[in-house]
């Protein structure tokens, strides 16, 4: 039964090979190598960009052509220009596959001869958590939406929370840690040491990545499968947006950081999706996503369409404006746009400090993931600034 669940998870996760095309024949391809936590973002943004239009209504498509891999591998790929030689994934336009949804599989294409160096690489945590080498002068770094990480348990588990100290013993000592019910290392589903999910948790619970106990798995779908078929002793680590897509079959644990009086979910409750505790600092296990593209000797982007995509993801104003709402997409995949954050940190697992974004989008974000108490507007507000249809405080 467990094998069957695993095979079903693989079938859903893997791109459809029957549609293999040559990637460089797709409309305006931008090649990416991203963390597997970013798959849902690639799917929704990929669909929107394939059907993107100029303000006059004429088509302006970009095709996101991507593979997923560990954050540290992705950083290395763009720092040292390692070509992708395996088949890549992409999202079809509405005209190509009208019935495609984000739960559908991606399509597959073959790379150009000799492979292709990614135009964009993504790390779902601070690059410094992977390498102390500074980025080469040819690589530009942009901070994107915030990515939270969770510990999740099967529905059969009675657990609701885990503390910093418990997590230290569970994953640093394994069975010897004697933290019931997590005393079966075959039921502890973790990631390999190049993956942001493991590295982010490692920095937060003070267990270095090479010291973790448990079953190291290469992909998030495998962790999902492990949790879903696990016993009451099962526990796994996931990106919050991966958990969000699998809420029906597992439970998230509230986490109590060192020195914290209570444990908190990433959201204001176990059932909400507002990422309130990530945004205000009560939930501490999160990282910024880092988006890297290549620049020339003057610092100008080598590929304008790649920078366009990076700027979109980073929440910057782009020209021409897209025909879709980027905050809507970021919110829909469980990430938090920088403009909705009120805390920040300087390094992986580092202390949080208060943060004020240049242009707040909290009202807009909350309207998408919860309900917003902000006044709506069309052009101006009596208090605050009219932005995205809401009176933001600044």
């Amino acid at each position: 039964m467990r094998s069957l669940a695993f095979l079903i998870a693989l079938a859903i996760a893997l791109p459809h090979r029957a549609h293999a095309a040559t990637c460089d024949t797709l409309p305006n391809p931008v090649y990416l190598q991203v963390g597997d936590t970013q798959l849902n973002l690639m799917k929704r943004l990929g669909r929107a960009l394939r059907d993107n239009k100029l303000p006059d209504g004429s088509p302006n498509p970009i095709t996101l052509v991507f593979i997923t891999s560990g954050s540290c591998t992705n950083i290395s790929a763009i720092y040292t220009r390692v070509p992708i030689t395996t088949n890549l994934q992409y999202i079809p336009s509405v005209a190509e596959v009208p019935a495609w949804t984000p739960t559908s599989a991606t399509l597959s294409c073959t790379p150009p001869a000799g492979g292709v160096v990614p135009d964009i690489a993504n790390s779902a945590l601070f690059n410094s958590a992977c390498t102390t080498d500074p980025p080469p002068a040819t690589v530009n770094l942009s901070q994107g939406p915030t990515q939270a990480y969770v510990m999740a348990v099967p529905m059969v588990s009675s657990q609701t929370a885990i503390t910093f100290e418990e997590a230290y013993f569970v994953f640093g000592f394994g069975v010897a840690g004697m933290i019931a019910p997590w005393v079966d290392e075959a039921q502890m589903f973790i990631r390999t040491i190049t993956k942001s999910t493991l590295l982010a948790w490692a920095a937060n619970i003070s267990v270095p990545s090479n010291k973790w106990k448990g079953v190291m798995l290469d992909g998030s779908p495998m962790v999902v499968s492990g949790i879903n078929s696990g016993t009451a002793a099962a526990i796994g680590i996931l990106g919050a947006e991966v958990y969000d897509a699998n809420r029906a079959t597992m439970k998230v644990l509230a986490y109590r950081a060192k020195g914290q009086y209570a444990a908190y979910y990433p959201d204001s409750s176990a059932s909400s999706r507002d990422k309130k505790n990530v945004r205000d600092g009560h939930y501490t296990v999160w990282s910024p996503t880092i988006w890297m593209d290549t620049v020339d000797g003057t610092g100008a982007p080598v590929k304008a369409s790649a920078r366009y995509v990076v700027d979109l993801i980073a929440g910057k104003t782009v020209t021409p404006a897209p025909s879709f709402g980027m905050i809507d997409i970021v919110a829909a995949v469980g990430l938090v746009p920088i403009c909705a954050m009120r805390v920040n940190r300087a390094f992986e697992g580092g202390p949080l400090s208060l943060f004020t974004p240049p242009e707040s989008c909290t009202c807009k974000y909350e309207s998408l993931v919860d309900t917003s108490s902000c006044a709506t507007c069309t052009t101006s507000c009596t208090t605050g600034v009219c932005r995205n249809g809401f009176c933001e405080d600044h």
């Binding site: 609701t160 929370a161 885990i162 503390t163 100290e165 418990e166 230290y168 013993f169 640093g172 000592f173 010897a176 840690g177 004697m178 933290i179 003070s206 267990v207 270095p208 010291k211 509230a254 109590r256 950081a257 060192k258 020195g259 914290q260 009086y261 209570a262 444990a263 908190y264 979910y265 959201d267 204001s268 409750s269 176990a270 309130k276 505790n277 205000d280 600092g281 009560h282 501490t284 805390v343 202390p351 949080l352 400090s353 208060l354």
Partner: protein, 84 residues
Amino acid sequence: MTLRAIFTVLSLVFAAACGENGNHGDMPKDAPAPQIDAGAPDASCFTDPHTYNEIINACTTAVKVYKDSHPPLLNADGSLPALP
């Protein structure tokens, strides 16, 4: 209004600001044992957080989960032992 009445009203206001699960106004059920969180301030939430400790313990309307946890391998002084 007597001083006692004012004090009572203020206490209720602070209790409402700091807790939503019916456990507040008192020390949380999992108030960290001194050997675990030695040196931490008391369990009151912070209404105007600035430091890291204040941010993670700021008053909030979010659900809180209090857990009474005593890992058996904690050192006697409450510190964590080195990893194996």
